[in-house]
């Protein structure tokens, strides 16, 4: 045993106790401020903190938590707060407060100094993005993917460079007509070939003279008749050969003519097809779209939603869901990971059983805030230990009938955490309310009142959000924002004339399936106005595309027409002549041959009769003798 060492130790302990008693208040104050700043993201200042060992009580005179978005305003400010900690819990390294009264709570109070924290380099987020990160990204994506509506007829026309559009759209009509022109040239060549090679004139003259010489009356003898028939048949054969050749060639030429004549009609279909392609490339707006409200309010909603989901992420961070077995986490050196062995009805690491809240929210220099009153139960970092969810019930009203109510249930008792929030604002004044910058929206609302009803529900990876808003007696200020965009003008004019705006926002997500819809009466009104104003400009644009395509078609068809226009009448006349000649002479030849055969038959019968008479005479002589 070393007594000197023992004394030195006693001195050390005494010194520690003295220093602690002198500085403990400051240390606790500093610790609470740091913890608060980590949660709020802005300065948290506690004044006049006093901790007493004797009864483990803490009190402070004032607490200010700055708004990270508006550092010159306080997100929350309280007056004197006093509470006691449970000694039994504190001996177990837990902080349990049975009752805390937050009196004189105010929000939005101005600050004398900036509440912005000195910027620290952003910490890279470790691990995979959680469900809420994905939800925020999906919400942002929904709005980012919306088309930027811009509708200025003059700019539209100017921008609609038909030559480049036609080049981009790769219209096919010219190529198709060029292909047809090749066909026409080939046909004309065939026609020329026909004209060059089909020369039956000499043969036809011979045939004509041959069958003109076929005179049945001049036949004297049977052999003469037979020779004449032979000659007629030979002439008929020659005639048929010429006729068949002509028939084949004539059909080919008629088919060519018919095909070439059908091309202009086909070109109409080609032009329609090309028009669709050009219109697609030109992205002519569909004026019947119903996402105008989403475009108008989507950005503002996403900004607010991102903020709300950020707060909710903080809540989930400090109030995690129950896990059966702790998971090993990567930790900074020398820090380690604290393992919590919780059991029901023990002390959680942090618990405030009941908080009574009273104060004023939304006060500014011109008007009083809403007198807020309510209770919060079982704020804890380990809800499954106490077996009860955290519940919030706050409500308030002003003399001018503005009202607010906020209810929340954060149930992290079981492994399947579920949270619900319900916020109602009634009769909210919209006088001189600034609107987030948007090319479509007014800079501020001059006057108006609105009711809001917001419901948010989270259960594991399922999410449901609904916001209903009715704004009435509205007046807008568009003066501060200038635009030359007609669409913006239309939207502004419609909104400017609206006395009542309804907005119904619904967002729902289940795992990776996410839907975000914004419905409003703005949709119908803007759509109608836009159609009225835009239809003429759109029709002009469409007509210009059609006109240009028709011009291309006409030019190409004219080139096509020119190719065979000169040749077509000649070949048709030539075919007609030959056709007529063949037709006429065929009947003549057939008539001649027929007459010849009849004459032969007649002669044959005459000879037969003569022979019969002669035989009868001879037979009569024989019988008489």
């Amino acid at each position: 045993m070393r007594w000197k060492g023992f004394i030195a130790l006693a001195v050390l302990v005494a010194a520690w106790l003295i220093v602690t008693s002198l500085f403990l208040d400051r240390w606790i104050e500093s610790g609470l401020e740091s913890a608060g700043e980590a949660i709020v993201g802005a300065k948290v200042e506690i004044d006049g903190l006093d901790f007493r060992f004797s009864d483990l009580s803490v009190q402070w005179q004032k607490l200010q938590a700055a708004d990270s978005k508006q550092p010159m305003r306080n997100l929350l400010e309280t007056g004197r707060i006093a509470f006691k900690m449970s000694p039994a819990a504190l001996f177990r390294k837990r902080i349990v407060i049975d009752e805390m009264a937050l009196e004189g709570v105010r929000s939005g109070t101005p600050r004398t100094t900036s509440g912005a924290l000195q910027k620290k380099p952003p910490k890279p987020k470790t691990g995979k993005p959680d469900y809420l990160d994905k939800l925020k990204a999906r919400l942002k994506n929904e709005v980012d993917l919306l088309p930027v509506m811009k509708f200025d007829p003059a700019a539209f026309k100017k921008k609609l460079n038909l030559d480049s559009l036609i080049a981009i759209a790769a219209i096919r009509t010219p190529q198709r007509i060029d292909s047809v022109k090749k066909d026409a040239a080939a046909a004309v060549e065939r026609w020329d070939g026909f004209a060059r090679t089909f020369r039956p004139d000499e043969d036809l003259k011979k045939i004509q003279s041959d069958f003109q010489g076929l005179e049945p009356q001049k036949i004297k003898t049977i052999p003469e008749a037979l020779a004449l028939v032979e000659k007629a048949r030979s002439t008929q054969k020659s005639f048929k050969a010429i006729s068949d050749t002509f028939s084949v060639r004539q059909k080919e030429i008629r088919a060519d003519v018919g095909r070439l004549a059908s091309y202009p009609a086909q070109a109409d279909d080609w032009i329609r097809e090309d028009y669709r392609s050009v219109a697609q490339k030109a992205k002519l707006p569909d004026l019947s779209m119903r996402s105008i409200a989403k475009m108008l309010a989507g950005g503002a909603i996403v900004v607010k939603a991102d903020q709300v989901l950020g707060y909710y992420q903080t809540v989930r961070k400090y109030m995690p869901r129950k896990t059966n077995k702790p998971e090993k986490k990567p930790v900074p050196r020398f820090k380690g990971q604290d393992i919590h062995y919780t059991e029901r009805h023990a002390y959680p690491t942090f618990l405030i059983r009941r908080i009574s809240v009273s104060g004023q929210a939304g006060a500014d220099t011109t008007r009083a805030g809403v007198m807020l009153k309510g209770e919060i139960f079982d704020v804890t970092s380990q809800p499954w230990v106490i077996g009860k969810p955290t519940t919030v019930d706050l409500s308030g009203m002003t003399q001018d009938l503005r009202s607010v109510a906020f209810q929340a249930v954060l149930d992290h008792v079981t492994e399947a955490a579920s949270d619900s929030f319900h916020v109602r604002f009634g009769n909210v004044s919209l006088n001189r309310v600034a609107i987030p910058a948007s090319r479509y929206l007014p800079a501020q609302i001059q006057k108006g009142k609105a009711d809001f009803n917001l419901v948010l529900r989270f259960k594991e990876a399922d999410f449901l959000g609904r916001l209903d808003m009715n704004a009435r007696d509205l007046g807008f200020d568009f003066n501060q924002v200038q635009s030359s965009d007609l669409f913006v003008d239309i939207v502004r004019r419609v909104i400017g004339q609206m006395g009542l705006i309804t907005l119904d926002v619904r967002a729902a997500g289940k795992q990776d399936n996410f839907q975000f819809n914004v419905n409003s009466n703005i949709d119908d009104l803007v759509s109608q106005e836009l159609k009225k104003m835009g239809s003429q400009a759109l029709a002009d644009a469409e007509a210009r595309i059609r006109s240009r395509l028709d011009q291309i078609k006409a030019q190409k068809l004219a080139e096509l027409e020119k190719l065979y226009a000169d040749k077509k009448p000649a070949i048709e006349a030539s075919i007609g002549n030959y056709e007529k000649w063949i037709s006429d002479n065929k009947s003549l030849l057939d008539g001649k041959l027929d007459g010849l055969l009849k004459e032969i038959e007649k002669r044959k019968k005459g000879e037969e009769n003569k022979l019969k008479d002669k035989a009868r005479g001879l037979l009569d002589g024989v019988l008489k003798n």
Binding site: G5, F91, R92, K93, F334, D338, I339
Partner: protein
Amino acid sequence: MIFLKLLSKFIGVLRSGAKPNEIAWGFALGTVLGFTPFRGAHTVVVVFLLCILRVNVSAAMFSWLVFSLFAFLLDPLFHSLGFFVLTGLPALVPFWTSLYNAPVAPLTRFNNTVLMGSLLVSLVLLVPNFLFFKWFVESYRESWNAKIKKWKVVKALNASSAVQWYLKIREMGG
């Protein structure tokens, strides 16, 4: 400079008449302080032991400083070991649970993975460390001291202006 002062004291202790057992226990307890995080009830216990027992405090301080550097390197190992002991042995979980929910015990931070891992390692090594340091002190005194003094490096160091300057300053300070 603190390290040089401690090193000087450490060499002085090795050459002094202090008993090897006292020096070795000082080393061994200093190792516990070096390996484990400062915040924890074990620190109070070890410092208390250092104060009331006849152990060499200089050796403990030197050992504390040196093994703190090792602790930085071994931290991931301590974390893994502590996590396994605290969560991977189902038979121990009821014990940890009752300890966690008992008064005072949670203040020891026994449920911290790095503290548990490093404390286990240092407690397991406490006696071997004592034996090793005892052998080291005895060996130093018996044979190494004379040999080390003859090392060219040591001679050069002793002759160097920095060491001379340090020794002068130390003498001035009494």
